[in-house]
């Protein structure tokens, strides 16, 4: 069973994402702040990371950089969860080393396809 780290401060979103993942036979680890997320990424080495880019403590892009710059976890695929309103940030995220992104609102019907598409293209590379 693959383990997924979900970094998300909004409780509802966290519940939704983890529920969908678990229903699709993924194990989940939860982090509610950016710092916590970085620590868990290093410590738990998940198979991939879902990262909300709006976090209470540090910017999602900073989390991304921190993970990418740590040798112990720099290869873990990261999928950003973006909000439509943050239009300009999406390109920045991809440039900062994000492997893909999902737009809110999360559609349970297609979210797994989106995630798996990213993971697959990453593993091909």
């Amino acid at each position: 069973m693959k383990n997924v780290l979900v970094i998300e401060d909004n409780e509802n979103n966290m519940e939704l994402i983890t529920f969908i993942l678990e229903a699709n036979n993924y194990g989940t680890i939860r982090a509610e702040t950016g710092q916590q997320g970085i620590a868990m990424a290093i410590h738990d080495r998940p198979d991939f990371i879902l990262l909300d880019i709006q976090l209470p403590d540090i910017m999602g892009t900073d989390v991304l950089m921190a993970i990418r710059n740590n040798k112990s976890c720099d290869k873990i695929p990261i999928i950003a969860i973006t909000s439509y309103a943050m239009a300009g940030d999406r390109e920045k995220l991809l440039n900062a080393g994000c492997d893909g992104y999902i737009e809110k609102p999360i559609d349970p019907m297609i979210v797994m396809d989106q995630i798996e598409n990213v993971i697959q293209s990453r593993s091909v590379l």
Binding site: N12, I20, Y84, P105, I106, D107, P108
Partner: protein, 822 residues
Amino acid sequence: MSIAPFFYQSIREKNVFVYLKNFNILIWVTILFLVNISFAQESSSLYIRVGAYDNRPKVYTNELGTVEGLFPDVLNEIAQRESWHVEYIQGSWNECLSRLENNEIDIMIDVAFSTARSERFLFNKETFLVNWATVYSSKDIRLDSLIDLKNKRIAVMKGSIHTDGDNGIKRLLQQFAIDCEFIALDSYNDVLASLSNNQADAGVVNRIFGTLVSKLYDVKETSIIFNPSHIKFAFPKQSTIAQKLIDRIDFHLTKMKNDPDSIYNKAMYVYLSGLPRELIFAKTTISGHKMIPLSHSEKIWIKNHPFIRFGVDPEFAPFEYLNEKGELNGMTFDYVELINQRLGLNMQVVKDMSWNTVISNAKNKKIDLLPCVSITKNRKNYFKFSTPYIHFYRAIITRTDMPFLTGIEDIAHMTVAVQDNSSHKDYLLYQTKIQPKVYSTLKDALYATSNGEVQAFVGNIASSAYWIRKLNLVNLKIAAPTSQDAQTLHFAVRDDWPELVSIINKGLASLTQQEERDIRKRWINVEYKPGMDPGVVWRYIIQIVGASCIIFLLFLCWNFRLKNEIKKRIQADKELCEANERLKKLDQLKSMFIASMSHELRTPLNSIIGFTGVILLGMTGPLNDKQKDHLTRVNNSAKHLLNLITDVIDISKIEAGRIDVYPQDFMLAEVIEEAIISIEPQLKSNNLTIHKFVPDDILLHTDRKRLLQSLINYLSNAVKYTENGSVTILAELIEDKIKVSVKDTGIGISKNDLPKLFNAFERLESHLKIKAGGTGLGLYLIRKLVTEILGGDVFVETQIGQGSTFGLIIPKSISLKNEMEN
């Protein structure tokens, strides 16, 4: 008069002239002369048949069988002047009209002019009277316009032109699409009665009936009137004398209308006010041109009071005073004499009393009347007052060596003289803080002011001026008015004689402006004429120079004020600009607020959409059909709301100038393909096909995301409003611009709706409106994106039922200017 006498005269002159020349022709002329006389006689005794029916007060038959009323009374007057013989032929309205058509009568009175009728009859030119319909309402309903009649119960008279006529209430309300309930009744009386007892909310009657009869009912006149008609005299088409009658009637009618004392105007007044008919012909008592309509009880009162005593202020010149011989003089005396004459009153002055004695006698009813006093609180306890008939100003009088005063405030700390028992005393006592020094006569008060006993005097400007001149108190001046408001003088009547008040009021009302002007001239203007001794001339020269100086100063003052005013205006302009600037900032702030607020709104919505989605997928366990249906509705509503908020964010960002432009290189065909893919689910569910004509070699440099967004919006609109057929997307390169059109086979849009199409929250009426959903912001957003971000323009071509083509034309490469700007 007819032309006959004139003819007669000219012939006679000719007769004399010819007589001198040639006797032979005299015979012929004499024959002509005789013929002329007989013609003149025949014309002067013209016999005229007039149709009469019953329609009070315009025309009716009295108890003695004589026809009278507004029309007959005026027509009789004209006939008398023209020496016509008038015979009234009575009948119903329809009988009269058919007689008129058959030339059996020469004139029909009271006929409303209409084009249809003018084909059957001749009409005179001058309108006799304009009638119209007036809407009355019951007391507790307020009606301001026709629109207020919606859903009301309206009482109308059956068969009236105001009910069923071309411009009647039914047609009128129908034209305005106003629904209401009509209650058809037999008479106008029934209409008003139904309002009185609340069986109807509004009622229609003609205006003459309304003004005469509405007082008898508990109803209210509204301002709603309609269906005006010009009521005239009508004549048979084939009549040989009609044209002559028309000319003469128009001539007299025009003349009478212009003369306020004519029978026409009297009859209009008397009949339309419901007064007794006799008043029209009554000769007025003295001056001969004014009627004083005294009531019966008033006449009796006058009979029972043959002698009315009045008292005067012997020094209240020029209003009332006793001259050196002890005779009563002044304006008031003229008024009293006129009213005595007109009303047959006998008001007599009681002489040899000081003003204080007069007042105390009046309070004890030893004197019945004071003809010239102001109203004061104290006097109200003893007297009843007539309407005012003289106006005067209250003024402050000081010595000429006193400094300049502006008003009553400036003498607050001075010793001030005032006449006892005058309205000025009450004024000072009750309306200012001044404790006046009271003098029993005006003369004494003025002397006291003149010799320095007091510093100022407050009194009537006219009588003070009179006495200052009379007593030659050259060191006094009229310093300032106490206020701009005129004071009024009235007849004061002992309070147990209220009848006399109304009698005097009627007498005062009967005075013409000319009469009052004459009285004023006599007592005010004449008295002011000064003698021309050298001292006076010098005084005048000094006064003129003084006045010129004052005018010059005023001029300077005015200039100064004008300058200040201009300064103020400039300042105001500046403030306006600043306010405008602030408003602009506020508007931006608003847009920013909406942008960030909307973002906060999205977060909870995302949860709702997510979780309902999860449940709908059955991931939390099976659902029954109802649950599935309801949750689908929740999910769809939330998505709709989210779209709305998303659009709002975009629009407010554009309006706040906060949207970023990200120009990049991309192929047009790719973007169009992406747009089509994103609306594919909708296409499928609507069973539509899509055609694409896009050259695949167009490279663009612009904001890809915004172009995509606009195209998706256009496509999804096209799909929404097309029930069957296809959607076509076309792209072409026109010089350095690209044009993309989205064409559908949908319902189309009416031409009238085109201008508002691209406005915010405009959703056009159509049977697909509900089904199609949508925010009303889609096209508005496209326009904003295309014009403000992509630097292009939108367009639309459409025909109802034929489908529409929406599109955009944007530069192939976003201009540097646009890029810089954003």
